[in-house]
């Protein structure tokens, strides 16, 4: 037997999963351990055919010193964040079954998480501090928290309104007065039939002869 889970509950579970993965990714990044994701490669600036002498005066000067990428630990952070994005996508796939506010919060969470992933996978020439992608993942987790709160709000039953107590006038039950006393029930007598001055004679029955269907109409 398959039990149907309400879409908002399913979305809340997905948000919790994504939050957990993002928190772990952020913790890993902040811990500073892990292998370097990208090997340093010398960056050659310019077109080899047009290179002249390696002097600063040459606009096609090739720096002999390779530009080292920043040390951005990536010990599974990308994989964790990718899993979080997948969970967010599953929540977004619920579409119109979620409120627009919750959908917006999920979308913002995805934007933040993807931005963090892009930072980790970015060009090594772009210096990025490890704390920056971690901060993106933190922000994504906050958006997911908001999405969960909005889903809770959507499911909330209206709060019963507090009405002031209604003061009604006291009801007094009066004894029923006896016959002849003031306030006693009135007895309605039947109305006498008026007497006619003369007797109404019965009307003789009238016989009407209908024309036969064969007769001509003149």
């Amino acid at each position: 037997m398959t039990s149907m889970m309400p879409p908002s509950h399913y979305a809340t579970q997905l948000a919790t999963q994504a939050q957990d993965r993002l928190a772990r990714a952020s913790t890993l990044l902040r811990s500073g351990d892990g292998p370097r994701p990208l090997e340093p490669t010398p960056i050659r600036i310019g077109i080899p055919e047009q290179n002249g002498p390696d002097s600063p005066d040459n606009p096609w000067f090739v720096s002999p010193k390779p530009i080292m990428p920043p040390h951005v630990p990536n010990n599974g952070a990308v994989r964790l964040a990718g899993g979080a994005v997948t969970a967010i996508d599953q929540a977004l796939a619920l579409g119109s079954q979620l409120s627009s506010g919750a959908t917006t919060a999920f979308q913002r969470a995805k934007d933040e998480a993807l931005a963090g992933v892009r930072m980790l996978q970015s060009d090594p020439r772009m210096p990025i501090a490890p704390g920056q992608p971690a901060m993106q993942f933190d922000a994504a987790g906050m958006w997911l928290g908001l999405a969960k709160n909005l889903l809770t709000l959507d499911n909330r039953q209206p709060v019963p309104r507090v009405h002031p107590p209604v003061v009604r006038p006291p009801v007094t039950i009066q004894p029923v007065p006896g016959p002849g006393e003031p306030g006693s029930p009135i007895t309605i007598k039947p109305i006498d039939q008026p007497k006619l001055d003369r007797e109404i004679l019965p009307i003789d029955p009238i016989t009407i002869q209908l024309p036969s269907p064969d007769s001509e109409i003149q």
Binding site: G101, T104, R108, D111, M135, Q136, W143, L153, R161, H163
Partner: protein
């Protein structure tokens, strides 16, 4: 000497004021209002009093959004403020509606509560932005271009 507050910090303070106004509006609608001696004027209906609180919150939110005109606030913060504005505006519209069928106060409370959640989010994001220099994120579609 005049001290200049960081725009994001000022926006966070303004968000607090908007939160207070929305809470006051909900208190009116839920019959938990604490009425000061000098206000509201006698004869003001419950809906009108709650709407005034909602409109006050909208004014605060507009001021906070004004802080972001020079990119002083990050895009996510602006998004959160705009969503809060939308929710609060809907609640005020429900209270000010001139239809024959009166608005359900509970639905307005839900709208104001939604706006409060967005304002809390805006404040949290401001704290995150102030804690570290978070770069501006472009939307994926914008990055694709």
């Amino acid at each position: 000497m005049t001290s200049i507050m960081h725009p994001a910090l000022a926006a966070s303070r303004i968000a607090d004021q908007a939160l207070n106004s929305l809470t006051a509006g909900n208190d009116v609608l839920l019959g938990q209002e604490v009425r000061p001696m000098h206000e509201p004027p006698p004869g003001t209906s419950t809906f009108a009093r709650a709407a005034v609180h909602g409109e006050t919150a909208l004014g605060h939110i507009s001021r906070a959004l004004g802080m972001g005109v020079n990119n002083s606030l990050s895009r996510p913060v602006m998004s959160a403020f705009l969503s809060a504005q939308s929710e609060a505006q809907t609640g005020v519209h429900m209270l000010r509606a001139t239809t024959l069928v009166p608005a359900d106060p509970n639905q307005v409370v839900l709208k104001f509560d939604g706006a409060k959640l967005w304002l809390d989010m805006a404040k949290s994001l401001i704290q995150l932005d102030l804690g570290g220099s978070r770069p501006q994120i472009e939307a994926p579609e914008a990055m694709a271009r």
